[in-house]
Symmetry: C2
Subunit: 217 residues, 2 copies
DNA sequence: ACATACATGTAAATGGTTACATGATTTA
DNA sequence: TAAATCATGTAACCATTTACATGTATGT
């Protein structure tokens, strides 16, 4: 993640922060207003990266100061200025640089796994309920991811269409497949996790055995 | 995650913060000093939850103020006080309460997946290298998780031994299996991710096809 | 004696969340 | 004309990370 200290002193550190590049990547499809980006990171793409308004608006000004995006000022009503941001050449360079930069996988920090580590102290039925509720949530996510995956493969999402409009036709198949494959992983991960939850439930309700009985079995 | 506002005003919010309960869970095995906990969260258990000293020491004072742990003061050298923290009955109650509380899965925020979403803009060889390096890192983690899993099943980790010392013998098998199963999931997850990386590499280097050729295939 | 491990903290910055605030435009 | 959506921000807080600071006990 090693990003150089820049003149203004922004971004001196080596963090996993990906939102700036997520924004650059989205703007590669087409220019957008802050509001559109807000909806995007709270809606369509919620399941790859999420961000609230309060994070996006200040970031946009930062990215513009960096020269990676450019806002086009428009007069609205009497005095409101509305800015439409587009990716600059420098922004595209930065996006490509980030893509080639090694990925620093953050340390595992999984609240449910942590909980499961101490499930022997809990009421088995309560623990099982925690797992069941989690499985239900995962199934919902899978449904939405699957729908998005299908749409991507059919090149039927608004953003992908706009993106493909300025890319050679012979690359379209590859682009759609690559994007869909990210969602493949989200789906497979969630399905793996559902199986793990079910196995954990079995362990919770397994009959208590003495060490001798376990050795015999 | 809904935690009540307490008299002193600490922890009013609804965050996914699990470190306090991770500490309570570790102290259930036996009393520890802050330093031991630091080593633990930076060493043995690194792959379930991680935390630096600067987070642990202040938290310990907070947890003691809350009444969940109790520090035993000891004179060291001339004036240094060393405190050995143990879980209180109230701490055990809080741990059990947390275990039964529904798990709030955080929004997906996967830097590598995000990157892969834009890999069509990158040099395929550079992108493949990012994936290869990630696979290497995952393989290392798998090795360490596997070793820990095996040790848990053999009831051969220092902490598990101490934990089992104050639990009925007929529960030992279940406890060891439950703990090992958390590491099963970490391993399976990483293996799934390795397969995804390899599939992504294939997609990166797949021959470019025209829509017509793709339709024919 | 010197290095390493033991032991405990503080300070500053970052990324992210929640809540608050405001006004314009469109639609029912 | 009222509600919903468009549009843009600020303030405060929390968890986490990095870096800094200090002193003791132990083993070589």
């Amino acid at each position: 993640m090693r990003r150089n200290v820049n003149a203004e002193g922004s971004w001196a550190s080596i963090h996993a922060m990906s939102l700036p590049h997520a924004i650059l990547g989205v703007l590669e499809a087409r220019p957008m207003t802050g509001y559109e980006l807000c909806r995007f990171f709270d809606g369509t793409a919620r399941w790859v990266w999420t961000a609230p308004q309060s994070q996006i608006y200040p970031l946009l000004r930062k990215l513009e100061a960096e020269g990676w995006i450019e806002g086009e000022e428009q007069v609205r009503g009497e005095r409101l200025k509305r800015t439409n941001y587009s990716l600059t050449a420098a922004g595209m360079d930065e996006l490509r640089r980030w893509l080639g930069e090694p990925h620093a996988e953050p340390a595992v920090r999984d609240g449910l796994l942590l909980k499961s580590l101490f499930f022997d102290l809990a009421d088995p039925d309560e623990a099982a309920q925690v797992l069941e509720q989690h499985v239900a949530e995962l199934r919902e996510r899978i449904e939405q991811w699957s729908a998005h995956r299908t749409a991507l493969l059919a090149r039927d999402t608004p953003l992908l269409k706009e993106r493909l409009d300025h890319r050679p036709a012979e690359t379209h198949e590859r682009i759609a497949r690559l994007k869909a494959h990210a969602f493949d992983h989200l789906i497979d991960q969630a399905e793996l996790r559902i199986r793990w939850c079910e196995q954990t439930r079995e362990l919770l309700h397994a009959p208590v055995t003495t060490p001798e009985a376990a050795a015999r079995a």
